[in-house]
């Protein structure tokens, strides 16, 4: 791995002094400063806040902080609602991904764009939209309330709905991409063997796209766990009922910064665990 490996190195006159300097830099040439410096700044920018979190953590009182009922309540609620939102996303999102990937209908591209909209939509806007749709006076909520007596806003179910609204697109996009990459002729082969299209999906396609579904679920789950804007807008901030970890962190920061740091550490640990779970897919990917 010297400059001799490089094309043009053997071309005599052109391998002048500037090229020779590359010897000893790992064969890839010197890293240009205009890329190196900003890159290092970016790295510091991304890592320093996390480092600060670790430095300022009240390690001594951490066990006490974490054993408080409110923390446990928030953590438990977060885990339950994020898992429920992921389940909702799976049950509804995988079929939607299949429809987007495997059927052809007018406006499919437009619909696909709409599905991804919550990905870029500010979550607060999502929360407002959910209120307008499912609130007590909402377009649909009105009927839910008067016909069935069901109220969704400011309930734990509301938290799940807000999280699913924000997280499902991650799953849909991930699964749809995997479906597009999977060979649809396996489904055809299954139908020639007597499988209905649904059986073909269940017994052939689903096992084939399982890695994509798993990755999409983890993404959706992580997104649901961190969801703040839509949740606080649509479900409010009631401890034990709708106060998830991110909400608790934000609230604690106002009156008990140490508690906020402890809660943040827990979320950081969860995030790292998620990354570790995905490392085969993304962290080693090049």
């Amino acid at each position: 791995m010297t400059s001799l490996d490089e094309p043009g190195a053997a071309a005599g006159p052109r391998t002048g002094p500037p090229r020779r300097r590359r010897v000893g830099t790992g064969g890839r040439g010197r890293v240009p400063l205009p890329l190196l410096l900003p890159g290092l700044v970016a790295l510091a920018f991304l890592l320093l806040p996390l480092l600060a979190l670790l430095v300022r953590a009240p390690w001594g009182s951490l066990p006490d902080q974490l054993s408080s009922t409110e923390v446990w309540q928030a953590l438990q609620l977060s885990l339950v609602t994020a898992t429920a939102a992921t389940a909702v996303s799976l049950v509804l999102g995988v079929p939607l991904a299949w429809l987007l990937a495997r059927t052809d209908f007018p406006g499919r591209g437009f619909l696909r764009a709409l599905v991804t909209l919550p990905l870029v939509l500010p979550p607060v806007v999502g929360g407002v939209a959910l209120l307008l749709a499912l609130g007590r006076n909402g377009v649909i909520g009105k009927f839910l309330d008067s016909w069935f007596g069901i109220t969704l806003p400011f309930t734990t179910t509301g938290v799940v709905i807000a999280e699913a609204f924000v997280a499902m697109p991650f799953l849909v996009i991930s699964v749809e991409g995997t479906l597009r990459a999977a060979d649809p002729r396996f489904e055809e082969a299954a139908t020639t063997l007597g499988a209905s299209r649904f059986t073909a999906f269940r017994r052939v396609t689903l096992p084939l796209i399982a890695p994509g579904v798993a990755a999409g679920s983890v993404l959706a789950w992580a997104r649901a766990l961190g969801e703040f804007g839509a949740t606080i807008t649509f479900a409010g901030n009631f401890p034990g009922r709708t106060q998830t970890m991110p909400l608790a962190v934000y609230l604690a920061l106002q009156n008990d910064p140490d508690a906020a740091i402890s809660l943040s550490l827990v979320l950081l640990a969860v995030s790292i665990a998620v990354l570790a779970g995905l490392r085969d897919r993304w962290m080693t990917g090049a």
């Binding site: 060979d183 002729r185 396996f186 055809e188 082969a189 299954a190 139908t191 020639t192 063997l193 007597g194 499988a195 209905s196 299209r197 059986t199 017994r203 052939v204 096992p207 084939l208």
Partner: protein, 361 residues
């Protein structure tokens, strides 16, 4: 499955056994329009160049491509509106499409399972099929651990395990290397001979078609251009494509007695006494080349040509000739050297009338 199968049996009439299909598939610029009939036990090969519509025909038979027009009857039952999963049709796909997450045994058991056979029974049946294919030892193997030839047999077992009344094979040997191909072709021939219903295979390889099939249907541009037994087609090709496949020089012209005046100008003397539009065919080995105009009177078919290409063909040299009459000629390496053949060289080509074969167009 049972309630779909039942009316089929009721509708079946004597003499209706086998395949009776008129497949019309319109896809914008391409139109497939072929008629295909076969009796149980027949092996029919759809032969044609790439893009001729062979695979489209196969997909139409399987129900994977909808018919624009025409009909499809199998053992007397109309199938054109039946979805693929309800057709008694088995398919061996070109690259087999074995389900990668299932073992060989589970792949073969998949069809019976879908037909409602209980799991244990389906696995027993699948094991029996694998045994017939000589694959009992590989029942537990995932497809990626199988060789090309083994995968092909698993795919065949999987298709046969649904007990189809029509077996479709899409380029069954194309994915195999030359050495495996010979073995697998022989095995496939044996399995097809044992198969009691109709088998239709698609191939662009004339050798596969002639070894495996009882009858060839040659398709070009979505149309049937010729059909018949392999021997018949090899002897009397009707298009340039088939002539090229079977290695014959083929011309079309108007016959008057023993002379055929080609549409392009030159004439060929033949032994048959014919009138009207005819084909004339002769093998490249029947052509003799001379550097100088031969003086003998025996060869009345004499044309002035120019060498346009040379290639080795087995232990022979095949010369492509242009000029008055474009043709292919085979000669020994020694003869080619003595004639000092090279592209651009001018030669005289003769063919004895007794070595030509003429038949009505």
């Amino acid at each position: 499955m049972t309630d779909i199968d039942a009316p089929r049996t009721d509708l079946r009439k004597a003499g209706d056994e086998g395949l009776d299909a008129h497949l019309v598939v319109d896809r914008g610029s391409f139109r497939l329009d072929v008629t295909l009939t076969a009796a149980p036990g027949d092996v029919v090969a759809l032969l044609g160049p790439n893009g001729a519509g062979k695979t489209t025909a196969l997909r139409a038979l399987a129900g994977l491509a909808p018919l624009t027009d025409g009909h499809l009857r199998l053992d007397g039952t109309a199938l054109e509106r039946t979805p693929p999963e309800s057709r008694p049709v088995g398919v061996v796909f070109q690259d087999y499409l074995l389900f990668p997450h299932l073992s060989a045994l589970e792949n073969v058991a998949f069809g019976p399972r879908c037909q409602g056979v209980p799991k244990a029974e389906a696995r027993t049946q699948a094991a029996a099929w694998l045994d017939r294919m000589g694959l009992a030892a590989h029942a537990g193997a995932k497809p990626r651990r199988l060789s090309g030839g083994q995968a092909q047999r698993v795919a065949l077992a999987r298709a046969l395990a649904t007990r189809p009344r029509l077996l479709l094979l899409d380029e069954p040997l194309a994915a195999l290397d030359a050495r495996t191909r010979l073995d697998v072709r022989a095995q496939l021939r044996r399995h097809l001979a044992e198969f009691e219903a109709v088998a239709v295979l698609v191939t662009h390889d004339p050798l596969d078609a002639m070894v495996l099939a009882d009858r060839l249907v040659v398709i070009e541009h979505g149309q049937v251009v010729q059909e018949g037994t392999p021997a018949d087609i090899a002897r009397r090709p009707r298009t340039d494509y088939i002539a090229h496949l079977v290695g014959l020089n083929l011309y079309r012209g108007q016959a008057q007695g023993h002379t055929v005046r080609l549409d392009t100008g030159p004439a060929i003397t033949i032994t048959e006494d014919l009138t009207g539009p005819v084909f004339v065919a002769f093998p490249p080995s029947a052509v003799t080349l001379f550097r100088d105009r031969p003086t003998g009177a025996s060869a009345r078919n004499l044309w002035r040509c120019e060498v346009t290409g040379l290639e080795t063909h087995g232990d022979q040299i095949r010369a492509a000739l242009g000029g008055e009459l474009p043709l292919a000629a085979d000669l020994t390496t020694v003869a080619a050297a003595e004639l000092e053949l090279s592209p651009g060289a001018a030669v005289w080509a003769t063919v004895k009338a007794t070595q030509t074969h003429a038949y009505p167009a």
